[in-house]
Structures are given as C-alpha cells and as structure tokens.
Amino acid sequence: MNRIITALFTLLLIQFLVVKKSYSNENEVKDCFERLNRVTFALNMGLDKIIFKPISKGYRKLPSPIRTGTGNALSNLSNLITIPNNILQGDFGSAANNSARLLINTTLGIAGIFDPANSLGFEKREKEDFGQSLGVMGVGEGCYLVLPVLGPSTVRDTVGSLIAMNGGDVWHNITVRDDEEYVKEFKESDYWASRVTSGVDFRAKNLEAFDAMEKNSVDLYATVRSLYLQDRKRKINNSSNKTEAMEDGDWDTLENQ
C-alpha cells in the first residue's frame, strides 16, 4: 500500500513539475517555501555546528590513506545508482565504463577501497542520480527545498530520492528493503552508515571552503541555494568543462551603461 501511495505521489509531483516547467523562467530562483526553508536551514546549520563539523574535523585527522580508501569505497558504491541513471540518460558508454569500474574495484580493489580500474583505463566519471535523469528527460526542477539533515534539494531531486528509495537504488534494496534475491549479508545499519560517512567525507573535504563561505556571506542561505542550483544545472547538462556563467548576455548589458 505504501508503495502505491508513494508511486502516486511521485507521479503527481512529476506532473506538477512538467506543467510548472512550461511556465517557468529558467534563470529565476523558485523558492516557494522560503520561510520554511530558512527555518530548516537554520536547524541544519545548528546540527552541522554541533555534530557534523566536529566529526568531520576528527575524520580529517585520520591518516590520508584511510580517508582516500573510504572515499574510494563510497564512490564505488555510488556506481549502483549511477549505472541505471547512465542507461536512463542514454549514456551507454558511461554505463559500460562504470560497470567495469564497479566490477574491477569491488573485486581487485577490495570492496572499492583501491581504484585499480583507473590504471586499467576505466577513468572515474561524474556521478548520476534519478534527479539528474528526470532533468535530462525535461522535468523542471520545481521549487527549491531544504530538507532536515539532508540539506538543499528541489522538488525534482526529492522525487529522484523517493525513486531511489523505492526500488531504484540497489544498495538501498539489499540493505534497508532486505531483498533476499540479491545478497543477504548486509543490514539496514550498513546503508545508514554509508550515507553518514559519505556526508562526513564530503564535509571534511570542504571544511575551509565552508568556513570561508560562512564568514564572508551577507546571506548564507541565498549563497548555498545559488551554489546548489548552479551545481545541479551543471550536472544535468553534464557541462563539467563549460559553465552557464560563460554566457555573455548579462555581462554585455554592463557595457551599455
């Protein structure tokens, strides 16, 4: 029953987004729930200060090979979401590359701790998720959302996460949903441990950048929102080498003033 409700909810949201896209201005920030978002953002910042930042600082004190190995293992695990999304986006080359990486690094690389696949010519590519696939399919991002603990998102990206948690993520299936047709060895705690470690690893890699941003912003909430939305747009367009900011249009209007 729960699955049916979630599926219906997801479909409704998608429909809402598709309709919304036709009326939306691409460059306009759609922050429909800004007041609530700002409250959630403040809550998340508090949690970060009390929990995530101190843990990340501690994590940074671990020897570099341990952190690298952890980062590699998490990155290897993320292929389980990336590969189906490569296929959904029609990028079969990346799907093959990432499948080879997953196979080689899980076996020869000992659960992904090492990255022998890179030496064998299968280079690391951008991560993909269901939110990005929906974007590639033309679904608009919808309103900006700040989720408790999880942080910045959009309606589209939240729908993407719901898809992942309802069968789209193999790792979630074999741990939380306990699908015995896959593997029996993993528990729900393994899934949450991987999610938390992933967050700590990301936070630890960006300690200085976050501090500088916090100290030098006049509206930190708006800064984080802008960075998140730009980053998602860049990922959906797979424009790692070019950027929206390269558009000359608005800069050119300065010349005429």
Binding site: E208, V218, T223, T243, M246
Partner: protein, 197 residues
C-alpha cells in the same frame, strides 16, 4: 583568385595574431597574479598583513565596479546617481574584505594555469586548477578575464568547479533586496554591517 586567397591567408594570420596576443596576455596575467597571491599566502606575514597585501592584489586585478554592477542584476537600472556612487564605494570595501577573507585561510594554495579560450575581443576564459593536497581535493578554477583593454586585463568572474562566484553573489544580493520589498537600501545596510564587523 590567388590574390583573394593571399588576402584571406593574411587576414587569417592577422586574426590569429590578435587572438593569440589576447589569450597570452590573459593567461600570463592570471599566472603572474596567482604566483603573487601564492607567495603572499605562503609567506610568514601575519594574517592581517596578508589581508592588506591580498586587498592590493584584488584592487589591481579585479574589475570591482563591473562586478558590483553585475551583481545588482535588474536592480542596477533603478539606482539614482547618488545611490550608484554609494553602492560602488560599499561594494568595493565589501568585495576586498570578502575576497581577502576567503583567501587568507589557504596557506598552501598552488594554482596551475592550464589553457585559455578566447571568447571574443572582450572576454578570455583562463582555465586553471588548484592543486590538491592530502586534506583538500583538486579544484578546477576558471577565470573570466575582461580583455577590452588588452594592456590592462581585469578579472570579472571566478568559476569554481562550474559554479560562478559572480552569479552566486548576484543571487545573494537579490535575495536581500527581494526580502526587503525591493528596498535597495536594505542591501546597503547589510553591506555596511559586514564591512564594520
């Protein structure tokens, strides 16, 4: 027919020469700038002394007035002359404080200039990377260099891992104005508060 071809070839070389001189000056400009900034950051100066040096570098290398007007977005057209002057003064102080404050924490920053792309006579994009360390991953940094005056190139934007700082700043400022019912003075107050703290 041969004459036309020769003219075309000469014209092509002339264009290549112009493009080359723009791109060379933009990459050299960024290369020199990053070397200067790195030497300040890795020096034994105190943080306060480093900030003074970094502010000088920022003042000489960034088109602060241009960036300031860009970050106002649609609101720049609504400024009176007095407000424009006030804003530009405030923005300059804000920018230099923010710019030096963001950089001063990076004592081991080394940037390698990789290549450049001449967009047109006004803009060259210089591609570079911040070399990674054991604590920090490698970071791609693209510089939008304003080359209308090739002798005096100026930075207009930094694009870090595809994220534009100028655009982020614009959305931050616009958010303050929108949340204060379009009152631009609210932005001025925020900037003053930041500068004074």
């Amino acid at each position: 027919m041969k004459i036309i071809r020769k003219i075309f070839v000469l014209f092509f070389f002339f264009l290549s020469f112009i493009n080359n001189s723009w791109s060379q000056s933009a990459s050299k400009f960024i290369n020199d700038l990053t070397i200067e900034a790195s030497s300040v950051l890795s020096s034994k100066l105190t943080d306060e002394e480093k900030i003074i040096q970094l502010k000088k570098i920022g003042e000489n290398s960034v088109d602060i007035n241009g960036v300031g007007l860009y970050t106002l977005g649609k609101y720049r057209k609504m400024l009176t002359d007095n407000q424009k002057k006030q804003y530009q003064d405030l923005f300059k102080s804000y920018f230099l404080k923010s710019f030096s404050g963001r950089l001063v924490g990076y004592s081991d920053a080394k940037i390698a200039v990789l290549s450049e792309e001449v967009k047109n006579e006004k803009y060259t994009i210089v591609y570079s990377k911040l070399i990674g360390t054991s604590d920090r991953p490698e970071v791609k940094i693209d510089w939008r260099v304003y080359t209308r005056d090739p002798e005096n190139p100026l930075i207009r934007d930094l694009i870090i891992e595809g994220l534009s700082l100028a655009r982020t700043q614009r959305e931050e400022f616009n958010s303050i104005i929108v949340n204060n019912d379009g009152n631009i003075e609210a932005l001025f107050e925020n900037l003053k508060e930041f500068i004074d703290n």
